[in-house]
């Protein structure tokens, strides 16, 4: 646990992707004192963040703290009104409610993600592999509105992971699913990432999701959001919801958010 102010030092964690032989960008994403305001309403202030290649960073915080705004800035849909952002490589987002194109079938949607430089045989191979990885082979010809919520999110993950994109942004990807499906999807996602390593930024209000999945969890403060504290989770994935480090880290974050109390019985931060 490293309690740090808005200026977070880069973490010395080794990236799992290093030495893969591709051209490496050691630091694909760097935010320098980024702030954002909608007219006079400041939603983000002084966010400094460096993400290493292959790192999995989760951002949690109370609702309205600017999580989604931060993700929009990282995705390049929003321009920060303060500070600067440097991003190397392409970004793909997985959305909270289906960002699949409803007029394309599951396989046509995943096809969009497949590298366009590949030949049609290669592309078809990649498509079949992604369908297999997310277990949707039998639903390749279905349209999104014919699928369950979990299947839609699987298809969207497959679309984002097909091809060779460096940074994956997840905007509360499992929050519209029921509890059990959500737990299953976390496990499946860890498996998918193992097959196709990416630099991941996950925005969520689900603290246990963040702790179960991420290498590093950033807790945002209430509006205007800044990084309130930062927490490393060291145990290897997949992690179980009830294993001691996960429980400890969850408790620590909930305490930071003022929802649980530390041993002394005080909560450092009330929302």
């Amino acid at each position: 646990m490293s309690d740090s102010g808005p200026s977070t030092p880069p973490s010395p964690r080794p990236s799992p992707l290093e030495g893969e032989g591709e051209k490496l960008h050691p630091c694909p994403l760097r935010l320098e004192r980024v702030g954002h305001a909608f007219d006079s309403l400041a939603v983000l202030r002084g966010v400094t963040l460096e993400v290493e290649r292959g790192e999995f960073v989760a951002i949690v915080g109370p609702s309205g703290c600017g999580k989604t705004t931060l993700l929009g800035i990282i995705a390049g849909v929003l321009q920060p009104t303060e500070g600067s952002i440097a991003r190397v490589g392409q970004v793909r987002t997985v959305h909270q409610v289906s960002g699949l194109l409803p007029w394309r079938t599951v396989s046509q949607n995943i096809e969009l993600g497949v590298d366009r430089r590949s030949t049609s045989a290669e592309a078809n191979g990649q498509l079949q592999e992604m369908l297999r990885l997310v277990g949707l082979e039998a639903f390749a010809g279905y349209y999104p509105h014919q699928l369950s919520g979990g299947m839609r999110q699987r298809a969207e993950l497959a679309r984002a992971l097909a091809g060779h994109v460096d940074i994956l942004l997840l905007d509360e990807p499992f929050s519209s699913l029921d509890y059990l499906t959500r737990l299953r999807m976390r496990e499946e996602f860890v498996g998918l990432l193992h097959e196709r390593p990416r630099t991941v930024i996950l925005v969520t209000h689900d603290v246990s999701e963040a702790v179960q999945l991420a290498d590093r969890v950033l807790v945002l403060s209430g509006r205007p959001g800044g990084i309130r504290c930062e927490l490393q989770v060291e145990s290897p994935r997949p992690r179980e919801l009830t294993q001691p480090e996960v429980v400890r880290a969850t408790h620590r974050i909930l305490t930071e958010l003022g929802l649980e109390h530390d041993a002394a019985g005080n909560s450092p931060y009330e929302i």
Binding site: V77, G99, L101, W103, L112, Y143, P144, H145
Partner: protein
């Protein structure tokens, strides 16, 4: 049949010009600010008010009826297309950007399929409207067709012929709508009708 030919001509013309006009106005804020008030004005103007001009400019026959049907269908179709384009959720454009869809591919794979369900609904509405207008147009500016048959029956006090003509008009109208409704059965637009 003369009436069907006129509807096909006028409605076809309105589709060919109205949808592109709507796409253009929907995409360009500047064009919308310049032309939308006029489109709205013309849409509120009953095409029947144009009948005197239609006869003056085109005489009697096919041309004035086609002109009137065009006016009846063009403006609502344009407006429906504008609103369909303007309400495409921004998430689809984000997807387009992140998956490298630009230029023509963006139009073909994002914009056109996104507006298809709304445009098809507008086609059904304006198709029905065209059928209403052709009868009125032929009553005043025609020498044949169903509208003329109605007028002729009235002048001859032949209520039996009038009712028979009305039956034909209604039946053909329903058949036309059934035909246009077939468009909503295309698999890639079903998402717009069931959720």
């Amino acid at each position: 049949m003369a009436s069907l030919f006129r509807v096909t001509g006028g409605f076809g013309l309105a589709v060919l010009l109205g949808i592109p006009a709507g796409l253009w106005l929907g995409c360009s804020e500047l064009a919308r600010r310049a032309f939308l008030p006029y489109v709205n004005f013309c849409r509120c103007l009953s095409p029947l008010a144009w009948i005197p001009f239609a006869i003056l400019w085109f005489g009697i026959g096919d041309a004035p009826a086609i002109f009137l049907i065009f006016l009846a269908a063009f403006f609502p179709l344009t407006l429906a297309t504008i609103s369909a384009v303007a309400t495409i959720p921004s998430i689809y454009f984000q997807v387009a950007a992140e998956f490298g869809l630009t230029g023509g591919r963006r139009w073909r794979l994002i914009v056109l399929p996104a507006i298809a369900p709304q445009v098809i609904t507008a086609l059904r509405v304006t198709g029905g409207l065209s059928w209403l207008v052709v009868v009125a147009a032929e009553m005043l500016a025609g020498r044949d067709g169903l509208g003329f048959a109605v007028w002729d029956a009235r002048n001859g006090l032949r209520m039996d012929l009038l009712v028979a003509t009305m039956m034909v008009i209604g039946t053909i109208g329903v058949a036309m709508d059934r035909l246009l409704a077939k468009l909503t059965r295309i698999p890639s637009v079903r998402w717009g009708y069931e959720r």
